[in-house]
């Protein structure tokens, strides 16, 4: 459980200016499912799951995922962005309990 919020980002090792780069991201998170009581009624509570993933590159939002509980545990997302300048790529994961987990990677050209 202590791993909750660990973010892993994977970018290709060699990026050239102008490339469209595919990034894979993963966060360790339980993504609680809906629970039901014995009568099959949904238990009302604040389920802890990630409902927003924001990807920014050079400070601009590239992709935003609005997610529901239908996303698997330890959610994995992939997306692309066009690498124009060296800079920071940041992925933020927000959950329903106010948790904010982020991972960053410096984009450099080789």
């Amino acid at each position: 459980m202590s791993d909750i919020g660990k973010v892993r980002l994977r970018v290709p090792t060699s990026i050239k200016p102008g490339d469209v780069v595919q990034v894979r991201s993963l966060v360790i998170h339980p993504m609680e499912r809906i629970e039901r009581d014995a009568q099959g009624k949904i238990i009302q509570k604040n389920y802890n799951y990630i409902n927003k993933v924001i990807v920014t590159y050079l400070g601009k939002a590239v992709a935003t995922f609005d997610t529901t509980q239908n996303v698997a545990e330890n959610p994995f997302f992939s997306f692309t962005f066009r690498a124009t300048d060296p800079g920071q790529l940041k992925v933020q994961f927000l959950d329903t309990t106010g948790g904010r987990y982020e991972g960053t990677v410096e984009i450099t050209f080789s």
């Binding site: 809906i34 529901t68 239908n70």
Partner: protein, 161 residues
């Protein structure tokens, strides 16, 4: 003594009731907000809520939806969508929706893309409750809606509730 007990019990009950009401009031808005996108509804309702009466065209020529034919474990189903789009500020893919028809909460995710993404692509691991269609719906910057769907067979469901 009996009266004392009665009063205590009544007070306790009343307090409990008040507490329950308070927690309901406090709990509902939070849940409603969190569930704004994903609600417990039928897929028809979900589509109506998201897209209203706008026509949805068949997007088989442009959208590539990658899904396993058979998902052995419904708890983790990899899905990826790529759309043939120039991704320029004038013409790009604005949203990609993933909708699983048979899930109790049909809307899985909505991806908002900016032209800087370079390519209209998204991938994620999703949950599927049972065998059924999975749709990818794409909204382009001019408002056109395109849809593709594929059936996935699920051996073990992964949605619990």
């Amino acid at each position: 003594m009996t009266e004392d007990l009665l009063v205590t019990r009544r007070t306790v009950l009343r307090t409990l009731g008040a507490l329950a009401a308070a927690s309901l009031v406090a709990g509902v808005p939070g849940t409603a907000r969190a569930q704004a996108l994903g609600q417990n509804e039928s897929v028809q309702e979900a589509m109506k809520r998201l897209f209203g009466d706008k026509p949805i065209k068949d997007g088989a020529a442009l959208i590539k939806l990658e899904l396993p034919l058979i998902a052995e474990n419904g708890a983790v189903v990899p899905v990826s969508v790529s759309v043939d789009s120039p991704m320029t500020p004038a013409s790009h893919v604005k949203y990609i929706y993933i909708v699983a028809d048979k899930n109790r909460i049909p809307v899985v995710t909505r991806v908002t893309l900016a032209p800087e993404a370079g390519r209209a692509f998204m991938g994620a691991n999703i949950r599927l409750g049972e065998s059924g269609d999975v749709r990818a719906i794409v909204e382009q910057s001019d408002g056109t809606l395109l849809q593709v769907k594929r059936e996935v067979k699920v051996t073990v469901g992964g949605c619990g509730g």
